[in-house]
């Protein structure tokens, strides 16, 4: 296979991966961040302790995290159909990717928020700050470098998850490597695809690290 033959395939697959990872990252933050705040906040000694709620949330998150992604993708097909009107394609892949990444990211958010000192939260309480103020201006603001680091890990995980999206016709770099590299014995394309994946992950990690470092004033 020549470079001119591979190039359009690679571009298309990279685009598909970008779409899947991009949208699912957006939705993961949208749902995972509040979930993480709830996990941290409902804990004993948290901002709004509710042990029962926390147990339920914790259970849901743990179930979500223990189902292998390839199984999850098939299992949530009915949900995918309701949300996107289809069960195959790049858009359809965003649903299982988001569902798979939300619990993962929520745990990372929880951990990052826990790192914020109890004394800082109490100082804000002593100043008469309400819960919303404390969550947005103290907890999330103080944990921002940790949240960015957690998001970086989540994006890398999503890139790796998205490689399985070929199973439901999502396309992407992983799918390209399987279809051409494995099924058609196009070893060159497979190697090139893997190199592209490595570069993409490397870029994501480097960018995430740089942003986290820039935000940290500890």
């Amino acid at each position: 296979m020549t470079w001119s033959e591979m190039s359009p395939l690679l571009w298309e697959a990279t685009g598909q991966t970008a779409v899947m990872v991009g949208w699912s990252t957006l939705f993961t933050v949208l749902f995972g961040l509040p979930l993480g705040v709830c996990l941290a906040g409902t804990d004993r000694g948290g901002l709004f302790p509710a042990p029962a709620v926390r147990r339920v949330l914790g259970l849901v998150v743990n179930v979500g995290r223990s189902v292998p992604f390839i199984v999850l993708m098939i299992a949530v097909i009915p949900v995918t159909r309701v949300l996107t009107g289809t069960t195959i394609g790049t858009a359809a892949a965003v649903v299982p990717l988001t569902i798979g990444a939300v619990p993962f990211f929520a745990r990372l958010v929880e951990t990052a928020l826990r790192e914020v000192g109890r004394d800082v939260v109490q100082a804000a309480e002593a100043m008469g700050a309400g819960r919303v103020t404390i969550v947005t201006r103290v907890l999330l603001a103080e944990a921002l470098p940790g949240l960015v680091a957690g998001l970086t890990v989540t994006v890398v995980t999503l890139i790796s998850y998205s490689a399985m999206a070929g199973v439901i016709g999502g396309g992407g770099l992983g799918d390209l490597a399987v279809r051409y590299g494995y099924q058609r014995f196009e070893t060159t394309l497979m190697v090139v695809t893997v190199v592209v994946l490595v570069v993409v992950v490397q870029l994501a990690q480097t960018l995430g690290d740089a942003v986290a470092r820039r935000l940290s004033h500890r």
Partner: protein, 314 residues
């Protein structure tokens, strides 16, 4: 300014506060001394209701805090400043951002906020570090930021939770001097807790000693000095064991006590031992005297009458 009565608080079986009464007057610097675990930290955190007492009433600046709902309590807390042992600054914000925080909470507008922040940083001598992050500051500077932040909302009361315990002695002195200055210049009422005797001596008008969740003793320092058997006075101004033929007197308001005594009663006054230090800027302490001469009995009667005679070992 601050009145606490019948305060009780238990954590499971551990009783942290066992019926605490306390009164801090307007413009007073009041120090609560105690070992760790004595309950003083719980007491302080009950004053702004960071901890809710099981029983008892807390009144600050005429408002009964224990009676307020969540919203009113938040508003009342804005009028109570607090500084912390480990500063509790927001690492994500600059010095100016930290001082602005309580003003943001109160909903003060941007321009007024900037003005007030500049004013506060001037007050604590950190105007040139407004753009620095807490991590770039020394411990003393961090506590100055903490003080500026605590006072930004113009509170009537400042609570100090071991504010100098994490600082070296020289820095401690400069922070205490700052607190004393703020007390004088702004008429700020300060309630502080500490385990360090020196803190009490350096800034407090009044003091209390706490142990096992109770206030063992409390009062104005000059009064404590004149109180026979006062544990606080003995801890603040320790004297060696008494020798026969000596008496112990309190040195407080009357600085020329000894010469006056000698002149009035025609006695010789020798100092056998003494513990005198600057307390809130005025010399105070206890002296052990050997009084001899014909007027000795009259001199002792005089001291007793003025309430300065703490101990007679003759």
């Amino acid at each position: 300014m601050i009145t606490v009565s019948g305060l009780r608080k238990a954590y499971g079986d551990v009783v942290a506060l066992d019926g605490v009464d306390l009164h801090v007057g307007k413009g007073e610097v009041f120090g609560v001394l105690g070992r760790s675990g004595a309950g003083k930290s719980t007491l302080l955190r009950c004053v702004n209701l960071l901890e809710r007492p099981d029983e008892g009433v807390v009144t600050v600046d005429g408002r009964e805090l224990t009676d307020l709902g969540a919203t009113d309590l938040r508003r009342a807390r804005q009028r109570i400043g607090m500084i912390h042992q480990h500063f509790a600054l927001l690492s994500s914000r600059t010095v100016a951002g930290n001082v602005a925080f309580p003003l943001e909470v109160m909903g003060v507008g941007r321009a007024a906020r900037a003005r007030r922040v500049a004013e506060m940083l001037d007050l604590v001598g950190l105007a040139d570090r407004a753009g620095a992050y807490p991590a770039q500051l020394s411990g003393g500077q961090k506590q100055r930021v903490g003080i500026a932040r605590a006072l930004a909302a113009e509170p009537s009361v400042l609570l100090s939770d071991e504010a100098t315990s994490a600082l070296d002695p020289a820095t401690t002195q400069s922070i205490l001097a700052l607190l004393r200055r703020l007390n004088r210049e702004l008429g700020l009422t300060i309630l502080l807790i500490t385990h360090e005797m020196d803190v009490i001596k350096a800034v407090c008008d009044s003091a209390a000693i706490m142990s096992d969740g109770r206030i063992a003793e409390a009062g104005r320092i000059p009064d404590l000095l004149a109180t026979p058997g006062s544990r606080l006075a003995a801890e603040l101004f320790p004297l060696p064991p008494a020798e026969p033929g000596t008496v112990t007197v309190a040195l407080a308001a009357d600085q020329a006590l000894l010469s006056r005594l000698a002149r009035a009663h025609d006695v010789d006054v020798a100092i056998a031992a003494g513990a005198v230090e600057q307390v809130a800027g005025v010399p105070a302490g206890r002296l052990r005297l050997r009084i001899t001469g014909t007027g000795t009995a009259a001199a002792l009667a005089d001291l007793r009458e003025r309430g300065l005679l703490v101990e007679e070992d003759a």
